[in-house]
């Protein structure tokens, strides 16, 4: 049993507070006779055989609501034509109900299999009891228990009530299927909500509706914690449709903690009205003045100057192997370059929002688009000083997460406002609010220096990185300069150094945190090294990976970085893209990159054509990924990989700028997010390897950026080292190029 699975299983058993209890059978599970039988916490069987399976995790488009119940359905041999799926309640019985970090598959695959196997075991036992036979002689198929010797069968519907009464089975005696016998997993399954989505059914957080619903905006300064100096509440109160307006002092989480991850909320003015447009319009007369002084100096240009200075001096050593200084000194050729990537905004299409309804018992009920349902509940309870039982969270479909919905800030705000107003409130952030109050992808500035020996081998790789910090000692949330697995390991010696710029700007996790920027840096630089060595970029990487394969497969066992797996996907993508044979017209080029993140190994080739005015168009991308032994839902896996590629295109062209702690007021027109005409053909292939299946939300994103940047270099000779990859920068790089 893999290390991660065992830990998760133990956590689940621990949560159920007792030994010998099975995953998915909490102490207070109720068995109901009659129309519905709850067999454990996840499966409800109707007497007519219909099966409802609960999805424990939120869905923000990555397919968790479809996948997790499918795994249960597979192991319990449910009849797939009789399935309905619902979100589970937000309750301790379901453990931590969060999605992110591409963890849904690796952390839930085995536990959900055990849930399904447990339900099957109880149904089999119920049949065995009724027939008075040994359960070992019974089989299951398509929603029925079969006794081959006796020539009889009983449907799950007929057995459900009995099964629900049986004690949870012994987890150590559970029999799981051999994956070669899977009937559901490994095949395409469309999203369970798709039929509703094409009809416009109101299933998102923003669509929540309850009687007597009021609508709110919450006006804050973008400078975190900025206190209100003055505001014209009377003028707002006089606006049509406004029902409540009040200022809130906020609650500081203390000790450098972030709102959204710790109890607390920002100071602001709540405007509540009978529809959202009236609430949002009323802010025009609010004339709020804030003490924004804490934001002074927290500006994009100031940070760039600080980073430049910090990169000129040694930083704090974070990791190293071998003596990189000696190796550099002894090298034949040295290559040095500075790279940077800016702050980014998430811009999930559904703006932050939450609907909150005060309950009769002094509690509150939330309807939330969130990646962190458990946390939304606990942070709300702690912020309001309520016992957990008085806070109910209903998971709603999220219109995009991308890491933004890992913060429960909007949920807590809505609860505070609704409880203070004493009415149900739908808090919706305008798009300007959503961009101004993001937890941004942090910036990074890096100085890279490598040494090559006479044969063109990279003998030294020194990376000095600067990023932002809240506490002055460690990188801020979502920030980092630590060398992810391959780039340093591929060199004979390496060192990563870190320096920090203090910031008050809130940062967070953006799809493939740290990797989404560092991959651009390291895989562009490795491309530069290949060219410096006069070597083919694919062959150059493969040679270095193979040279270090032995040492790089750390003794950590399953889950530790395995450089051979990276080499394999790189080799495969070179083959599939026709890398060696490429014979492209002038102005078109191919670039390659490989990267390991979130347990996934990905290599990508991009084919780019330079267009008018130094702009660029990606014609095709080849993606090869290794995420273990089985792609559980191929049609969704392809969507995740393609979506990662498209998002990478957006990351290449976007940035957020700051002046004195505030973003320049902006909306979607200010961001070069990828649109349909820009989309390349995307070829996606997964290599199945003998490893437990891992996630796909993120690992296909990091290699896209350097693959495209390297292709632009191949097509135009322009090496751009600072994102966004604008025509202006390409023009400037072209002007600098040496033959």
């Amino acid at each position: 049993m893999a290390m991660l699975d065992r830990r998760q299983l133990l956590l689940s058993i621990g949560a159920a507070a007792g030994g010998g209890l099975c995953v998915g059978f909490s102490l207070d599970a109720q068995a109901r006779a009659g129309a519905e039988a709850h067999i454990g916490d996840y499966v409800i069987v109707q007497s007519d055989g219909g099966v409802k399976i609960l999805a424990k995790a939120p869905d923000v488009g990555q397919g968790a609501k479809t996948l997790l119940p499918m795994i249960i359905a597979e192991e319990m041999d449910a009849d797939p034509s009789r399935l309905t799926i619902d979100f589970a309640p937000v309750d301790k019985a379901y453990g931590d109900q969060s999605v992110g970090g591409s963890t849904t598959t690796p952390l839930n695959y085995m536990p959900m299999r055990r849930v399904g196997a447990s339900v099957r075991a109880l149904l089999v036992q119920a049949a065995a009891n009724r027939w008075k036979v040994d359960p070992a002689q019974l089989t299951t198929q398509n929603g029925a228990v079969i006794d081959a010797t006796g020539g009889r069968r009983l449907t799950y519907g007929a057995l459900a009530a009995d099964a629900a009464q049986l004690p949870a089975p012994d987890v150590t005696a559970l029999k799981l299927k051999d994956p070669k016998d899977f009937r559901l997993l490994g095949r395409d399954h469309g999203g369970v909500d798709t039929p509703k989505l094409v009809k416009g059914e109101p299933i998102f957080g923003l669509d929540a509706d309850v009687p007597d619903l009021h609508y709110a905006v919450y006006v804050k300064s973008p400078v975190p914690g900025a206190k209100l100096i003055s505001a014209d509440l009377d003028a707002v109160r006089a606006q049509p449709g406004v029902t409540h307006v009040f200022a809130l002092d906020g609650m500081d989480p203390g000790a450098g903690k972030l709102i959204g991850l710790a109890p607390g909320y920002a100071p602001g003015v709540a405007i509540v009205a009978r529809n959202w447009w009236l609430a949002n319009r009323a802010r025009q007369v609010l004339n709020a003045r804030w003490d924004d002084s804490a934001g002074a100096g927290h500006s994009t240009d100031v940070y760039a100057q600080k980073a430049k200075a910090l990169l000129e001096a040694p930083g704090q050593t974070m990791a190293s192997h071998g003596d990189v200084d000696a190796a550099l000194a002894g090298s034949t050729k040295r290559v040095q370059a500075n790279y940077s990537a800016p702050f980014l905004a998430h811009i999930a299409l559904e703006p932050q929002n939450c609907t909150a309804r005060p309950t009769a018992d002094g509690g509150v009920e939330l309807f939330a688009s969130t990646q962190v349902a458990t946390s939304a509940r606990s942070l709300t309870a702690k912020t309001l000083g309520l016992p957990l039982e008085k806070v109910t969270v209903h998971m709603r479909r999220g219109g995009g997460g991308f890491g933004r919905r890992l913060m429960a800030d909007a949920a807590v705000e809505s609860a505070v406002i609704a409880v203070k107003a004493g009415v149900p409130v739908k808090l919706v952030w305008s798009r300007e609010d959503d961009i101004a109050h993001d937890y941004y992808r942090p910036p990074v500035w890096m100085s890279l220096e490598a040494g090559l020996d006479a044969s063109g081998k990279v003998v030294a790789y020194k990376a000095r990185g600067v990023t932002v910090s809240r506490d002055g000692k460690t990188p801020a949330t979502g920030a980092g300069v630590a060398m992810d697995a391959a780039p340093g390991l591929m060199a004979a010696t390496s060192r990563t150094e870190q320096a920090l710029i203090p910031t008050i700007i809130p940062t967070g996790w953006m799809r493939a945190p740290v990797s989404n920027a560092l991959s651009f840096v390291h895989e562009s630089f490795w491309d530069e090294l290949a060219h410096a060595a006069g070597a083919d970029p694919v062959a150059f990487r493969l040679a270095h990976m193979r040279a270090h394969a032995g040492g790089a497969t750390a003794a950590g066992g399953e889950g530790a970085f395995d450089i051979q797996r990276l080499a394999n996907v790189l080799e495969e993508v070179a083959k599939r893209s026709g890398w060696a044979q490429c014979n492209l017209p002038p102005g078109t080029g191919m670039g390659v990159a490989s990267y390991f993140s979130h347990r996934g190994y990905f290599a990508e080739v991009a084919q780019v054509r330079m267009t008018e005015h130094d702009d660029w168009h990606v014609e095709k991308v080849w993606v090869v990924g290794d995420v273990g032994s089985i792609i559980l839902n191929p049609i969704n896996a392809h969507a995740q990989a393609a979506g990662s590629v498209v998002e990478g295109l957006s990351h290449l062209r976007c940035e957020v700028a700051f002046k004195d702690g505030k973003t320049v007021p902006s909306n979607i027109p200010n961001f070069a997010l990828a649109r349909m005409p820009q989309i390349p053909q995307i070829d996606i292939h997964f290599l199945a390897t003998d490893h437990p299946p891992t996630g796909l939300g993120e690992p296909a994103l990091p290699p896209l950026l350097p693959a495209v940047a390297n292709a632009i270099f191949a097509a135009s000779g322009a090496r751009v080292r600072d994102l966004p990859l604008t025509p202006e920068r390409i023009r400037a790089a072209r002007a600098l190029q040496t033959t």
Partner: protein, 153 residues
């Protein structure tokens, strides 16, 4: 102010100031939540509806501007000549990831097929450029429109 509107084939009276965007009248006053809010400035297309069959951004169209034109929203797409074919194609290609933009995508696609039943790929891209999909489902949106139209896309 009471304003009469023709929405999805029915005449309704709404109490709304004429400068109120149709988007918020649909969502908050009529509780038709299919039409989505993404930006409020007409840049993302999530609020796409039809006015007399043509694409309109409901966040930029005030109820006063609607006049006697027929408003069609996603809730009535199945009645559109190309609606069911598009919805079936969307399901067949498993188009949505989060799905938040998809009502707007479908409405834009329906209007396109109504005026151009056999669009080229370039026609599709040109007409759909105003509909942002943050999750990046564009390949499948194109393929589904192609399937509904009976063309290669």
């Amino acid at each position: 102010m009471t304003i009469a509107l023709k929405i999805n084939g029915k005449t309704v009276s709404v109490d709304a100031p004429p400068e109120m965007p149709l988007l918020w009248v649909l969502r908050d006053e009529m509780h038709l939540h299919g039409t989505k809010f993404g930006c409020g400035v007409g840049a993302c297309g999530a609020c796409t509806v039809h006015l007399d069959g043509a694409v309109a951004r409901a966040c930029l169209t005030t109820v006063g501007q609607v006049g006697s034109r027929e408003v069609t929203t996603i809730e009535a797409l199945h009645e559109h000549p190309h609606g069911e074919a598009l919805q079936a194609a969307w399901v067949a290609h498993d188009v949505p990831q989060c799905g938040y933009c998809q009502a707007g995508q479908l409405m834009a696609a329906a209007a396109l097929l109504q005026k151009n039943p056999k669009p080229t790929v370039a026609d599709i891209e040109h007409n759909m450029v105003g509909n942002l999909c943050r999750c990046g489902c564009y390949e499948r949106i194109k393929a589904a429109i192609g399937q509904a139209a009976g063309v290669e896309a």
